[in-house]
Symmetry: C2
Subunit: 498 residues, 2 copies
């Protein structure tokens, strides 16, 4: 496990230590940057050792990552009271509960913007923990299955702990495109004009003087939970594929579509599986995460190239990638998240962005983050970077859930992450609403008629009609009634009138 | 007035006609594109003639402009029932009333995105009306005081009416930077790396075959309403200048700041006047509109260069600009609005964006468009393009108005245009809240303590504390009470408990 050939910079071997020894480098109130994006390329040892240490003393840090961590690391840190503040994203049940109780602060941030904060106005990162495949002769580091914010952490952190993961083959070299944006006011353009264009180096620059510790580990990433498609996700995917086919027919898109972004989860997998069967070819992705379905689509010959910031796949897919790195190295690239999610690139490439909503309303506003406007689920992630600037901004959700006691289409969403100006297409298992160019009153009728669950359609129509009558306006609302469905759910356990 | 030397393309003189003759080119249900952005460079004759014609027959069009029109044109069109749908922005009282009654549809759109729709999936523009200073030998047109969406209209409209405005000197040539983005998937990067970089041509390409009519006019733009600074705007500007000075002290900004964007109005003018007095120099603007204060700041030597999509100034400033075009041509540039508001350029340049809110809430969500969540004022304009992607996204508003019966800081905004993820700094006449990196519970206390009007502070604190107690959560809210201030205002005429 302690493979010193992975430290190619002379003199750095003396920095090798155990995770528990490295954990002594943390101190109370530090700002810590850590690699890891959608459970990929995260610290496997050092953050857990930090949690162990924090159990026995007052030791709370602000932890900034790429996105979510695997291996229950966030849960362990939360349980050990090791977190004062967490940003920019998380998906952990234990951590979420502490955040919602107000015990841990959570700054929920557009994933492209964290690097801006790090280089701009946050306190500098005191200590970074970055997973690497190996350290180069020049002291630069070759990352593993994600890039996330590691480039910014390496550039700005006062000290860095490297976790060398020997479970990742050294042949991963060449999979990454490492590009560091200049600081203001000297920033240049990023010359990426299609998903496969590489503009950077293959390893992350790091001043070897900043390396405070090197810890070895040999653990794969937490595998993705791949749920098989069900009737609802299949229906949503079918509506979307049908929509794309129609866009091709009308000439607004070609059968190569435009670069795809797909959020994590069942629906994205179902849509990509649908594209495998459809009459599309020479497709590309410019996304945040590469999932199992991405690799299936590559293997099918339909997907030319996929760019993202991480690889989050099942155990078998993980093995398939590492066994075929020479092939996939020509087909995929991993970039820093401020490049994968860069607003200008998303607009320039003309992305088709498909993301999941918690709920949306009759005017097309989308809530991606909060239950009942109050309790956070995961965070906005990259959905805002993509939705605002995409060529097509698509949100999907099931029309109703929990034995249909909850409608996901509401008079008004309880929290707005993507507003009416940012949403082009809404899809539920019942149908699709194409909102492009429509005014709010047109949107309302289309959304209710095409997307509502039948049990809720009449009451949604009634709300809209009464709002038009009573209050008029560009966006008719009866404010004192707008959240009544949420209130009814809280009080009676269902959104239905009993 | 009919100055044929302004038609330099041979053969086009035969297209000269009166506005009423040109108005016969419109037909029912057409999609019309018209120049004009913040009342500058708009059609002075033809759209009014369309309104006259529509009074006597069924003639309704979808009217797409750059932004707002001057000379009561929107009012005349609305009164004549000439509008089926209007987009992407308006500021007219009569039109607004018809929109809010549901008589005219209004698609309220990010100003950078209208061009995307025009080139992408809207029905093609049937007829465009574009104000020009003159027509070049090659048939291209030299625009006047705005560029707006005219480049996209000229490129995609089936037919074009040119309004030559002889009140604009031909010497305006060279003031514009005309850049047409390639259509997807062939789009390249826009190599603008600072406000003064020019990347395009000096006139708008137009196939002379598409010119259906040329109408002469001799009218200046509607002058900007310049309200003198009052105690509130002066206080807001002072808080902001103080903030900038502190950013310089801490080293996060230099005394050149970063390129400024400022929304239209009193506050923007007060801030720019404040910068004239402060210890800043070599400033630049990358904005939507150049106002009187911009030219004062240029003349003071503090502002190196200003880029925008239009010039909207007082009568005297208008004259000053035209009398000194040789000087200002080196100091300002007018661009298409999808370039002035391009998300990627806003991020790349590191814009400091200052925009006005109607109301904001204790968590930093901003409403820029709707009164009581229902009735539209103007529209989102470019504020979303800038707020999402700026280095610093600042929103300003008075803490209270109408004899303090209305608080502009609320438990929850009634409509969200800019959400908590997009807002860095909030300012009222009472103070400034710097929200960067903060979690919602931190933001709430800071916003209430720094920005609230004293009459409302206790009740805002009480709402926040009760919400934390009763509902907990990342963003504590009592949904059934969240809009109670709006309801109280509607029922009793004040937000105060009586």
């Amino acid at each position: 496990m302690k493979d010193l050939s992975r430290i190619r910079r002379a003199g750095l071997e003396q920095k090798v230590m155990t995770a528990d020894e490295a954990a002594l480098l943390f101190s109370h109130q530090m700002v810590v940057g850590a690699s890891g994006f959608t459970k990929a390329g995260d610290s496997k040892e050092v953050l857990k050792a930090l949690a162990r240490r924090a159990k026995n003393e007052t030791l709370q840090v602000t932890l900034i990552t790429g996105a979510s961590l695997g291996h229950d690391t966030d849960a362990r840190l939360a349980e050990a009271n090791a977190l004062y503040k967490r940003m920019p994203f998380q998906v952990d049940r234990v951590l979420r509960e502490k955040i919602n109780k107000g015990n841990i602060l959570f700054t929920d941030q557009h994933l492209s913007e964290t690097a801006e904060l790090i280089h701009g106005y946050l306190p500098y990162i005191d200590l970074a923990v970055i997973e690497a495949a190996y350290i180069e002769e020049d002291g630069s580091i070759v990352p593993t299955t994600s890039v996330g914010n590691s480039v910014s952490f390496a550039a700005t952190a006062k000290k860095v702990i490297i976790e060398i993961n020997t479970a990742v083959p050294c042949e991963i070299y060449g999979l990454h495109d490492i590009f560091l944006q200049e600081n203001y006011p000297h920033r240049n353009f990023i010359p990426i004009i299609s998903a496969e264009v590489r503009v950077g180096r293959k390893s992350i620059a790091l001043d070897p003087e900043k390396i405070a510790a090197i810890v070895f580990t040999h653990q794969t990433d937490s595998p993705a939970d791949i749920a098989p498609p069900d009737a609802k996700t299949t229906a949503i995917a079918a509506h979307l594929i049908n929509f794309f086919e129609n866009e091709v027919k009308t000439g607004r898109l070609t059968d190569r579509l435009l670069p795809l972004q797909a959020g994590i989860g069942k629906v994205a997998n179902a849509v990509l599986a649908g594209l495998e069967k459809g009459n599309f070819y020479d497709l590309s992705m410019y996304s945040e995460v590469l999932q199992d379905s991405t690799f299936d689509l590559i293997d099918s010959g339909k997907l030319r190239f996929a760019s993202a910031s991480s690889i989050t796949v099942s155990e078998s897919c993980y093995k398939r990638i590492f066994d075929n790195l020479d092939t996939y190295r020509e087909k995929i690239v991993l970039r820093p998240q401020n490049i994968s999610n860069a607003p200008g690139l998303i607009r320039r490439l003309g992305i088709i962005a498909i993301n999941t909503a918690i709920e949306f309303d009759i005017y097309g506003n989308v809530n991606s983050t909060h239950i009942a406007g109050t309790h956070i689920m995961n965070g906005i992630g990259g959905s805002g970077d993509f939705a605002r600037n995409a060529y097509l901004s698509i949100f999907v959700t099931q029309a109703a859930s929990k034995e249909d006691k909850i409608s996901h289409l509401l008079p008004m969403v309880s929290h707005v992450d993507h507003n009416e100006h940012d949403v082009d297409v809404l899809v539920t298992d019942f149908g699709l609403a194409d909102l492009r160019g429509l005014a709010p009153r047109e949107r309302a009728l289309l959304i209710i008629n095409n997307c509502a669950h039948p049990d809720y359609k009449q009451e949604l129509l009634s709300y809209f009609e009464r709002a038009c009558e009573l209050r008029q306006g560009q966006t008719p609302h009866i404010l004192e009634e707008a959240f009544s469905w949420h209130t009814r759910l809280r009080e009676t356990g269902t959104m239905k009138r009993i």
